[in-house]
């Protein structure tokens, strides 16, 4: 009976009901009616359930943070010490130790150690001891996972000067992170230099200058590139691009930073294109109309009015592109050559942080220093991309709010 319904706002304040949109008001009235019938609790219950499920995304981010951090926390707190594994384990003592400890000592995967019989283990330990005795190395007393060793150059035994070295499988494991992140940044910057101009020009053309039919063709085709799995791009770089570029430019190393960057640029173009195109299309058409009415050409109105208006969105597109470039794994793993060389040359191989994780984690014994260093790399990558994502997200939300505010005020005046 609608006549008996009371608007709650009305009765509570005694004031005139404020102007609310019809569906909201209807909902309030219906809810009151339902409450009287005693059915509202079920609606509330389901709504609460929906709310709880929607928190999953937050939990997922938190869990990623916690569980990647958990595996590398002992390293951050300085509880891991590679020098300890340099202590001699006598073959007699080897039987009492756990497979994990032996795996670290023998630098073998745990899975290989576990099924071995005690006698075989004794032999392995004995030969390891002989190996250590044959090559006495003062470096083995070092804790190679301490912060200075991870970040600063060090003069190792067989080197003539202090260098940044990532060499986790050598007799003395060298875990300097600088070559990996240098490689990541080098590839990311080079690929962005290719992808950003191309995708922004295409985005500006498609959203502002192209005719309707051209847009309908060009946009989905470029977006189709986003559907190409990165392993396919990596494969293409490895099989086809590498040989083609070597033939074209005549450089020495077949798989190098340049090849990986070109393939990575292909992965970045649809990402940057889509976000920039969205931002440009969100700028109200009236801006352009006004500029056109003042005598500006289509091109002039685009570069002086539309592009500046969408500028934060374009900036966000580049940030997200950078995050994608730093985090891309399969392309760089397959095409960069994977040698951790600290060289400014773009025609040299390099190893990125992501490729190091992908290539080495399977061989790193669980809970070994190597395993923890790889998780530390992952943690650093996560933090870098997280900060970039939050930054881009804030920019995009602000831009959207501003442009929507402009649109509604325009609609109000018209």
């Amino acid at each position: 009976m609608p006549t008996t319904l009371q608007d709650p706002i009305d009765s509570a304040t005694g004031a005139m009901p404020p102007v609310v949109d019809v569906s909201r008001q209807l909902e309030l009235e219906l809810r009151t009616a339902l409450y009287e019938k005693g059915e509202s609790w079920r609606e509330t219950f389901v709504e609460k359930g929906i709310f709880l499920v929607s928190l999953t995304a937050i939990f997922a981010i938190l869990l990623i943070f916690i569980f990647v951090a958990r595996e590398c926390l002992p390293l951050i707190l300085g509880q891991v010490d590679t020098a300890r594994s340099a202590e001699l384990i006598t073959p007699e003592k080897a039987v009492d130790l756990s497979s994990e400890q032996l795996a670290v000592y023998l630098s073998q995967p745990v899975d290989k150690i576990r099924p071995l019989s005690p006698d075989v283990l004794k032999d392995l330990v004995a030969s390891r001891n002989e190996e250590l005795a044959a090559h006495p190395n003062p470096d083995s007393k070092l804790n190679t996972v301490s912060w200075p060793m991870l970040l600063l150059p060090y003069r190792w035994q067989e080197y003539t000067k202090a260098e940044f070295i990532w060499q986790p499988t050598s007799l003395v494991e060298k875990y300097n992170l600088v070559p990996l992140f240098f490689g990541s940044v080098k590839i990311a910057v080079l690929s962005l230099l290719m992808a950003v101009p191309l995708s922004l020009m295409a985005a500006i053309y498609v959203s502002q200058l192209a005719s309707g039919t051209v847009r309908e063709v060009v946009k989905p085709v470029i977006e189709l590139l986003a559907g190409v799995p990165s392993v396919v791009l990596g494969f293409l770089a490895l099989i086809a691009l590498a040989s083609l570029f070597q033939w074209l430019f005549g450089y020495e190393v077949r798989l190098n930073t340049f090849v990986a960057s070109v393939a990575l640029a292909l992965a970045l173009i649809p990402v940057i294109f889509t976000i920039a195109e969205d931002a440009l299309s969100a700028v109200p058409q009236t801006h352009k109309d006004a500029a056109r009415a003042m005598g500006a050409t289509e091109w002039h109105a685009t570069v002086r009015v539309m592009v500046p208006a969408a500028c934060p969105g374009i900036f966000a597109a580049v940030i997200l592109g950078f995050g994608r470039a730093i985090g891309e794994t399969m392309v760089v793993l397959m095409a960069s050559g994977n040698a951790s060389i600290l060289s400014p040359s773009i025609f040299q191989s390099c190893r990125t942080a992501t490729a190091a994780i992908a290539a080495e984690l399977a061989d790193a014994p669980v809970d070994s220093p190597h395993y923890r260093v790889l998780f530390l790399i992952g943690f650093i990558l996560f933090v870098i991309t997280f900060v970039g994502n939050v930054f881009a997200d804030v920019i995009l939300q602000r831009l959207r709010a501003r442009l929507e505010g402009q649109r509604t005020s325009q609609e109000a005046t018209s």
């Binding site: 219906l30 985090g327 990558l381």
Partner: protein, 327 residues
């Protein structure tokens, strides 16, 4: 009070005296157009190259053949490997992933579009978390899947529920890979669901509410059926994304080689994308595996492109319906 917005966003008045000349305008427009068409050309060339190289390799013995050598040893046969196990593994993986991701993703999308107050801080954090999840590098999902699903969840099940010494759940398995991919593809589903719900006209809801339906009744009987094609599109896009990801499943379940198909959800599996990586990087004789490799890539591309194509068509149809409703 003037509601007229400041028309110039850059804060500078539009200076017509320094306007580009007509020839500059033509030049730059032509340049931008050629860049756009260049990219289209690159995509076309790329697809044409892969298909031309790999298409003739698509014979029944390849598609339905096993990776195990038929003639002698029963070992992994890199040079003649069929892809049956990989296609099976990929389909099993994305099926499990879809079952896991759809309910959570769709309900999150429903909350964001139907129930949330857009200005509340909870809404902003959820939205920001979804966007952030979309930007986390895929290899981090691999680390997370290994640390959380395999060692923490799986290890706990082994220790406290099954009390087994040899790991059953605490090792890489198809269920953990599927869960990892479900977390990775969740933003795709959430965003598509939101878009689909937003495209359902408001008057339809008002009419239902006006007839006395409750909010949930309106949602279930009016809004969701209308939004269904868009929501399914989200699922398809998630499947297409999941089918192509390799980095997250490398440590959480994909196997280099298995002689049999996965028997249960705690088994490992072979997967198309990972198989491509193995064939391309581990083969002793690249020239011999080359045709096989291209054919495998074509199978993976057909799978992802077909799914993308369906998604694009469904989306175009929804947009068309929306436009006709407005008109």
């Amino acid at each position: 009070m003037s509601a007229i917005p400041q028309s110039d966003v850059s804060g500078q008045p539009l200076d017509l005296t320094s306007a580009p000349t007509l020839s500059q305008t033509t030049l730059f427009t032509a340049l931008f157009r050629s860049v756009a068409f260049f990219l289209v050309g690159v995509v076309a060339l790329l697809v044409a190259y892969i298909f031309s190289q790999g298409f003739h390799g698509l014979n029944p013995s390849f598609l339905f053949g096993s990776a195990t050598s038929q003639d002698s040893s029963g070992m992994f046969d890199v040079h003649n490997a069929g892809v049956f196990e990989m296609v099976f593994g990929t389909i099993l993986l994305v099926f499990l992933m879809t079952v896991l991701v759809m309910p959570v993703g769709v309900i999150s999308g429903i909350y964001l579009n139907e129930f949330s107050d857009p200005n509340a801080w909870t809404t902003r954090i959820i939205r920001s978390a979804v966007n952030n999840l979309a930007g986390v590098p895929s290899i981090i999902f691999g680390l997370f899947g290994l640390g959380f699903f395999v060692y923490f969840i799986g290890g706990s099940i082994d220790d406290y529920v099954l009390h087994t010494a040899s790991p059953v759940f605490g090792k890489p398995a198809v269920i953990w890979a599927a869960l990892t991919l479900a977390v990775l593809t969740m933003p795709v589903v959430v965003v598509s669901t939101e878009q689909a719900l937003r495209s359902v006209p408001l008057p339809l809801r008002d009419a239902a509410l006006g007839l006395g339906a409750t909010k949930l009744q309106t949602l279930r009987q009016i809004v969701l059926p209308q939004a269904a094609p868009g929501i399914i599109t989200g699922g398809i896009l998630a499947v297409s994304r999941g089918a192509g990801e390799v980095a997250p499943i490398m440590f959480t379940g994909a196997a280099y080689y298995l002689a049999h198909l996965p028997q249960s959800i705690t088994d490992q599996f072979m997967e198309l994308g990972y198989h491509i990586y193995i064939l391309a990087t581990q083969s002793p004789n690249v020239d011999r595996t080359r045709p096989l490799l291209f054919a495998t890539v074509v199978v993976l591309l057909l799978l992802t492109f077909l799914l993308n194509l369906i998604a694009i068509l469904v989306r175009a149809w929804t947009r068309h319906r929306m436009r006709s409703y407005r008109a």
